[in-house]
């Protein structure tokens, strides 16, 4: 189980959080079509550290940026987005 240190609420159980997507897969309104397509439908899917967007859905409701290892589940940083 993950213990995610929410910058607003302190360390909380994984159950309160929801994963959204990786930081590099946010589709922006002015993106070129190929960039938008890549962000919408593909992922680097790294077997290592990646930057992710989560939300503290069952807590403060804030959006968070996590840097997390996909193999060890180690959480290196949690910052407000």
């Amino acid at each position: 189980m993950l213990l995610i240190p929410c910058p607003h609420c302190g360390p909380r159980n994984q159950e309160e959080f929801a994963y959204e997507r990786t930081l590099d897969s946010v589709v922006r309104l002015d993106d070129a079509p190929d960039v938008a397509l890549s962000a919408l439908y593909t992922r680097a899917n790294l077997r290592g550290d990646d930057h992710e967007i989560w939300t503290h859905a069952q807590g403060c409701g804030q959006w968070l940026r996590l840097t997390r290892h996909r193999m060890t589940h180690a959480i290196h940083s949690v910052e407000p987005l």
Binding site: R21, Y41, R43, N45, W54, R70, M71
Partner: protein, 420 residues
Amino acid sequence: MGAERYSALALLRGAMTGHRHWGRAWRAAEPRGPYDVIIIGGGGHGLATAYYLARDHGVRRVAVVEKGYIGGGNTGRNTTIVRSNYRQPALQRLFEYSLKLWHGLSDDLNYNVMFSPRGALFLGHSDADMVRLAERGDAMIAQGLDADLIDRDAVARLVPLLDMGRDARWPIEGGLIQRRGGTARHDAVAWGYARAADDLGVDIIENCEVTGFLRDGNRVTGVSTTRGDISGGRTGICVAGNSGHVAGLAGLRLPLESHTLQAWVTEPVKPMIDTVVMSQTLHCYFSQSDKGGIVGGGDPDFFPSYAQRGAPLRLDDSISQAIALAPALSRLRMVRTWAGVTDMSFDGSPVIGETPLDGLYVNGGWCYGGFKATPGSGKLYAHLLATGTSHAITAPFDLARFAQGRTIDEVGAGPMPQHR
């Protein structure tokens, strides 16, 4: 090569001689190139691909490169359910092609894969569920698949241990059963294909992890591995769970995200449930293995991970659902839980086709439905690797479908892999 045929006579002979004549089921092959086809991944799909390449297409110089041991990945981690009860015609064709191969697979391979067409039952918990199941059944029958919509009494007769009470946590209103569906012995599928492929001259190279690709411009000419470089004509990625990682070694981004899926098994008991019971409303599924354990699973962990272990949170979901559906399960001890890594795709359907690199092909993105597709996936991927063009059944599952708006989205959940 030239493995002894398994038969009742061979067993009898063994009985006379202390069973000392059994040899290895497949050779421990060393890498020796060049090969016509290199398949990355020695799971069920990769081994089946190698077998059909050699048997149906006459491609004999085939290598299967496996980072661990045969049967140690997702082939040995699934819940062994086989069915083709999908709604989208493209998915129906793919999984039905596979289901037809399951019937008769043990004879084909001369290896008992213990395929047991005991019926795959979807439960309906409300009027709305029953409408959806009726629609699904109609869609299946329209494609020539077998589907029976059954009422509450028929469900109760089929699986007497289900809680049929009106005050049950999840009342059961009826179900949709595909009687030709069932289960198979997952390890035996990998072992059977490995033995049969080896018998046709395929090199199965275990403990050999791919670390990169050999390139000549835009063409892939082989793989670098922990046991040296291996050159080949065509290279097929077949590593569902790790497709993103392996394709990343070639600089590709796939429409996949790797997630953890867990399963559990109880102590073995006498036969108590002889049907595969599934609820898509709850997302819980369980069946009894031939050894007697109740094997079950549920949702994935809802965040990306390559770790082959999951959180108790999701286990708790599927186990509490199973116990609510069949209260007698609460008396059984759970002996083991485990997790596998699944390629979750952006429309819930697999990805089978060519990549932007010449000579490199991909077969992955099976979400959590790969085991049932093993024979069909292998045979159709062999067609692609032998001829360079997709079979009509797999053509809709190419990588280009996302850019062209041809997604095959059974659930209708949009491009979010964690919501499948």
